[in-house]
Symmetry: C2
Subunit: 320 residues, 2 copies
């Protein structure tokens, strides 16, 4: 039985936000219903960075993402983050496919925010704010544009080059560079910065906003003033990951956040076991750390799409 | 930068016990010296079996083995255990190679036992006993034959077919089928059974023997009567893994083993920080659970051997 190999240049054309969003939404649902498995990430730390092994299974799918974070890579003309996904048959363990996971990671992260917005933002949301205009901002925008008819996208980044790259990449949308307080005056805000201390102040946050806090993905990182969290209703992607590496990790550690502000997980809301937003003036926050089930859901979607397609590389990798 | 893909049929000819043994020996040394990293294995359990993510780094090498155990596979004409190794550049995180890891696993397991025998068995050892004649027995034999001039190999298995397959596979050695007590009367014994309760009795064990206890690799498995362990000097591959899944896990849990019988790790002996065998009548036991550092050491050895060889598949997998 051959194993399929899908390179970065082949994966990108297979990624369609309109398919990624429901795949990720379903992963959250299965996880909340206890039908998915996701053991803790295993971290391997080396001198120049770290690696994470992220295994997960969903009904009919299993696999593992191996992803690195090497901050000095851009000086060598390499991305900071690269990922490989091994997609396995849960019935036999057979490695059905090995895929580049770099774009899958960016797409599923955008899709997770869009799923959160779908369940937590006001129904009439039509403006999007992006705090940070880097690679992750692109897929946040793409995912929200797939779900919403966006009247205006406001963006702020320390780097003007990043901002104009984002604007040029999406000529079909009305995207404007704004100050941070102006960006925060949007119906939905995605924070996608590498900040280690809060960049968003309490006084900028308007009633009724939904914030996808995406940047914090490691111990010690945070983007939002804890006072925002203390007035918000918070949903996490996974409590275990959020409390160690998500937006809530620093304020929880410092005792600055009332743990009761965390109402549950996004999966609980998707599965219907917890209520999301209850009124139009509530501030909702989704703390997104990135889950292995999101990656495996995408890998499953892609594999099912191409498994009968003969144009991709197949090797008798692990012969029977 | 292209990534190299090495299939099972390509890996096997690249595996030479005379190279695998020193690579594994060096991995034990680096681990004992604190120069290797090996976070705990991450287990993913599904209905039909399980998967393990095994990350590790050594000086100049990093990577991860993704290995499954699906006991019902033979009925589908698939191996129970299959493995894929992603071999990464520790400096950048770049996935340099993706290799079949199935034969690497068998070879490094044999090599680990041979390293243990080198440091723990009597210097004049010339007979090898194999308790179990399955796949793992083959590489135990190959590894010991690479280090010792074996006068006689005695083998016992419940399955006569397995025994005769082993004998036929190595016509160059004198291999004889024997009863279990006779097999135990060897200078070095390797136990490679899937037993969940002791198969080797105390009265069969001779003074001066060295036993490589390889079969126990999961919680609840054991091959040796705990009374053997209580009269032996025990070395583990890794204390964390051994106490949860190695030969010592059951007797430690039941309080049947004095923890002081465990003198240290094989790495301590290889690195010279702990003494191995101290006299010719001592019974020594190596509790082998299988370490990710052994896999990554082999992957490194293979990659260095072939990285300039153009005959293997290269794909622009994760483009810069």
């Amino acid at each position: 039985m051959p194993t399929m190999f899908l390179c970065k240049s082949e994966i990108l054309p297979l990624l369609d936000m309109k398919e990624v969003i429901p795949a990720v939404e379903n992963a959250f649902r299965q996880w909340a219903l206890g039908k998915a498995q996701m053991p803790p990430k295993s971290y391997l730390t080396v001198d120049k960075g770290d690696f994470r092994a992220m295994p997960a299974s969903l009904p009919g799918a299993a696999g593992m993402k191996w992803v690195n974070v090497h901050p000095a890579n851009p000086s060598r003309n390499l991305p900071t983050v690269m990922a490989v996904i091994i997609y396995s048959d849960p019935e036999t363990g057979y490695p059905l496919a090995v895929m580049d996971g770099t774009d899958i990671t960016a797409y599923r992260t955008g899709a997770a925010s869009a799923v959160a917005s779908k369940y937590l933002a006001r129904k009439d949301a039509s403006t999007l704010g992006l705090v940070g205009a880097g690679r992750q901002a692109h897929t946040q925008l793409m995912a929200h544009a797939a779900l919403y008819d966006l009247k205006l996208v406001k963006v702020y980044d320390l780097s003007e080059a990043s901002t104009s790259r984002l604007i040029k990449a999406f000529p079909q949308y009305r995207i404007e560079a704004h100050t941070l307080p102006e960006v925060m005056d949007s119906d939905i805000v995605c924070t996608v910065t590498p900040a280690h201390s809060p960049v968003v102040r309490k006084e900028w946050v308007k009633p009724g906003v939904h914030i996808n806090a995406v940047g914090a993905d490691a111990h010690g990182k945070e983007e939002l003033d804890p006072e925002i969290l203390n007035e918000a209703v918070i949903f996490v992607d996974d409590m275990r990951q959020a409390s160690t590496s998500g937006e809530v990790n620093v304020p929880l550690d410092k005792g600055l956040l009332d743990p009761n502000r965390i109402r549950g997980s996004l999966g609980d809301v998707v599965a219907g076991t917890k209520k999301g937003r209850t009124n139009d003036r509530e501030i909702t926050v989704f703390d997104s750390t990135g889950l292995a089930i999101e990656d495996i859901a995408c890998a499953h979607m892609i594999y099912e799409k191409v498994k009968r397609n003969s144009e991709f590389t197949r090797l008798n990798f692990v012969e029977a």
